[in-house]
Amino acid sequence: MLSIKNLEAGYGKVKVLHGINIEVPKGQVITLIGSNGAGKTTTMRAITGMIKPTSGEVTLSGEKIDGYDSHKIARLGLAHSPEGRRVFTTMSVNDNLLLGAFPRFTGSRPKGDIQNDLERALEMFPRLKERRNQLAGTLSGGEQQMLAMARAVMLNPDIILLDEPSMGLAPILVEEVFKIITNLKSQGVTMLLVEQFAAAALNVADYGYVLENGKIATHGPASKLKDDPAVKAAYLGGAGGH
């Protein structure tokens, strides 16, 4: 579904990604883990058009999307729940969700039953249902994360990119978030999950890539990576000596 080849990207003079390769097959949950500064968010931004890659290829369902503007990529069926949530703070929860389905209103995506999907999304995220008319800016961090994910779901996308959904959340909320991700997985949603919280990510994913200093250090089936000492070292710099 999503194929990334030799991707290089950065900010101005600083090159963050030095050629990475990732495959996201349809129906699977792929996770990209690594410590901070490794380049995870840069990868997401380069895929979804928030920054333009300096070289390499990004292919979505056979179409080359590297260099496209974000809105074009979204209309092709790629939803992105960005780092830092980025909900529309001056609008209600309801409106935020409707905007997630924007391309469906305008005809760029198959319309389906938007209102129905909205109600179903609120069922999946009960905290949001209670607050549907509240301004998104007044929600807590965890609730905003839920909203960002629900908003991505509203696109009826072919693939969802989740960028650090656990960031800044209390452990109990992180559990809730990952429950929802598991739920989505059981519905067959293809996902690329970028996470700092390696254990939870590897629990829910099928396959994982470990990013270190802008390169893929190691990759493999999630179950194998879980016990890999290299993963632990990449994060904690050798709690077991290095």
Binding site: K13, S140, G141, G168, P171, F197, A198, L236, G238
Partner: protein, 643 residues
């Protein structure tokens, strides 16, 4: 020897100016030249606002008018001589400048442009209305000033204006090369960093505008005596736009650009009134641009796409001029069209364009600026060994800080105690609140609740620059250097606090200023040497490799003579050898008694360098202690890895 050579163009200009009225007797041309000189003085000032601090002022015609009318009114009602009206014009106009700038520059945005536009319009209206003071539309007649009882001749007045121009040139040049000029450039490159280096952005923006108003007042006064008649309709918005066009077309941040701009301002209206002259000039410009474009294309310096619009623009303009019978009906449209072309295709002005054109054709590039690198004096102690060496005592107390953004609690009841002489690490997953804490400590955010006590004093509510000056310096997660300034200039901005000399001392290059400048330079070089960047002193900061940029930021922070140094992810993006060097530098700084708070993700850095580590997660502190203890702490492992 170097110094004399660089003064030669100036000397030629001075000689030329003084010879002009001797060889040219036609009063029309002398008057034309005189007007150009007067506008140049105004543009020197306007350039500080537009070129150096990067703001738009549409009110300089109004300020110009205030200068003229101060002279006119003082002469008409009180008979004061020029020696009184010049200082009066400068001061009165500067005051008006302050009245405009103080409110308008408080906010980021196009407010200064809006306020000055309103001001320019109203100034003209008021001058027109207040007939009891200004004689309104009748205007005021002013004779040439008297020199020893006799009115000056045209030539003598020309020499007076020339002399004042030369003085203005020297004064402006000295200002922009001094700590003031550096402050102006710094605030434009990175306002946040500027504040955190103890240079108040707001204060210097206002100072810049007031200085420019002073120059406008001076020009206005001289203009009154030059024209010998002033009336309100001269000082209109069209003139204000013309001034801006002059600065852009001539070239920003350049004295020569101001002269060229002034000439354009004087000659342009004449050009737009005479269709034949306009046809000739437009055709010449079209040919020049065609040839230049052809040259650039042949040398592959540019693409057809980039030259297409300006080429079509100037050729179209020339063609249009031949189609017109008379130009007067369309002069404003042509004027507007020229502004569009200049704003997008001549952004660096004629001076800037000529420089880069020459460089690209001749194949030279020069990013290295400044005087020859001075020898560093190793005996200069560049890190002021911190006075209070009471290691272990509490330097900074963070007391139950709550930082809330809407519904988000970025920091939730966090307390820290930073002991003198230690390196205190602050770690935690992304979004745990570390950078937010930095911003609270340096005054960028005001905490929702809680207190921060630095050496016993609360710093909550203080401005960033005050906090910086009281001894807390920082670096930034995304490097915030003053990109277009050289490495040494960046450090000199950090050393701004060592300068006590005022504008008069700078203008006259008095001894205190010269001493301060020399000392700052040698201290800056020593700091550069400390981080290993002494060879790159004159390189523009944005051209430095990433790792060196980070080191430069640390050196700049040291220039503040801090007691507490906050480093925000200093190792991010560094290679292993760079990281080793970084750690060596950090330890050496600590040995002079400076206390550190270090945000870092590179665990090896944290483990080997920190004395204490505090761990944040979800805006709260979850662990604290020696590095090894924290690394083995269950809660910490769970926060990072989830295992």
């Amino acid at each position: 020897m170097m110094k004399l050579k660089s003064h030669i163009p100036l000397l030629i200009a001075i000689v030329g100016l003084f010879c002009l009225p001797i060889f040219i007797h036609n009063p029309y041309y002398i008057h034309l030249a005189e007007t150009i000189l007067i506008y140049t003085i105004l543009l020197f000032g306007l350039d500080i606002v537009v070129g150096y601090i990067g703001q738009v002022s549409l009110g300089h015609a109004g300020l110009f008018g205030i200068g003229s009318y101060t002279a006119g009114v003082l002469f008409f009602h009180f008979g004061l001589p020029i020696w009184a009206t010049i200082p009066a014009s400068i001061i009165v106009t500067a005051i008006f400048g302050g009245i405009l700038a103080l409110p308008a520059l408080k906010v980021i945005g196009p407010y200064l442009a809006m306020v000055t536009l309103a001001f320019g319009t109203i100034a003209q209206i008021l001058i027109n209305e207040m007939t009891w003071l200004t004689e309104g539309p009748l205007g005021i007649k002013i004779p040439k000033p008297e020199l020893m009882g006799v009115p000056m001749t045209k030539a003598e007045y020309f020499w007076l204006v020339s002399a004042i121009l030369i003085i203005s040139l020297i004064v402006v040049d000295r200002f922009v090369k001094s700590q003031m000029g550096r402050a102006f450039e710094a605030l434009r490159d990175s306002p946040v960093a500027c504040d955190c280096m103890g240079v108040s952005v707001y204060r210097f923006k206002v100072i810049a505008f007031v200085i420019s108003a002073g120059f406008a007042g001076l020009a206005g006064c001289l203009y009154a005596y030059s024209e010998q008649y002033i009336s309100p309709n001269t000082y209109n918005n069209e003139l204000a736009v013309l001034f801006l066009l002059g600065i852009i077309m001539g070239g920003r941040k350049s004295r020569l650009g101001a002269v060229i701009g002034a000439a354009i301002i004087v000659l342009l209206p004449k050009l737009l009134d005479d269709i034949n002259l306009f046809r000739i000039v437009a055709s010449i410009i079209a040919i020049v641009v065609l040839v230049g474009a052809g040259l650039a294309l042949s040398k592959k310096v540019t693409t057809p796409k980039r030259v297409a619009v300006p080429l079509i623009g100037v050729v179209g303009l020339a063609a249009f001029s031949f189609w017109l019978d008379s130009i007067s009906d369309w002069r404003l449209s042509i004027f507007g069209f020229m502004i569009l072309l200049v704003v997008y295709y001549l952004q660096n002005g004629i001076v800037g364009f000529a420089k880069s054109f020459y460089q690209s054709i001749a194949g030279k590039t020069k990013t290295n600026r400044g005087e020859a690198v001075e020898e560093t004096d190793d005996s200069v102690s560049f890190i002021s060994a911190v006075a209070n060496q009471n290691t272990g005592a509490e330097l900074l107390k963070v007391d139950s800080i709550l930082m809330q953004f809407g519904g988000l609690k970025a920091l939730n009841n966090v307390s820290l105690s930073i002991k003198r002489g230690t390196i205190h690490g602050l770690i935690g997953p992304n979004g745990s609140g570390k950078s937010t804490m930095m911003n609270v400590l340096t005054g960028i955010y005001v905490p929702t609740a809680g207190n921060v006590l630095y050496a016993g004093q609360s710093v909550v509510g203080k401005t960033s620059s005050d906090i910086a000056l009281s001894g807390i310096a920082r670096t930034f997660q995304n490097v915030q250097l003053f990109g277009e300034m050289t490495a040494i200039q960046n450090i000199l901005v950090g050393l701004h606090h060592t300068f006590k000399s005022n504008m008069v001392e700078i203008a006259l290059h008095l001894s205190r200023y010269k001493k301060e400048e020399a000392e700052a330079h040698s201290r800056a070089m020593a700091l550069l040497k400390f981080v290993g960047l002494e060879d790159l002193a004159n390189e523009e900061a944005r051209n430095l490799p990433y790792g060196k940029q980070r080191l430069l930021e640390i050196a700049r922070a040291l220039a503040l003579d801090p007691e507490l140094l906050l480093l925000d992810e200093p190792a991010a993006g560094l290679t292993a050898p760079d990281i080793k060097e970084l750690m060596r530098i950090i330890r050496k700084i600590r040995d002079s008694g400076i206390t550190f708070i270090l945000i870092e993700h590179h665990m090896d850095v944290v483990m080997s360098v920190c004395d204490t580590v505090s761990v944040l997660d979800f805006g709260q502190k979850i662990a604290e202690g020696k590095p090894a203890e924290v690394q083995a702490d269950e809660k910490v492992i769970h926060a990072y890895l989830g295992t």
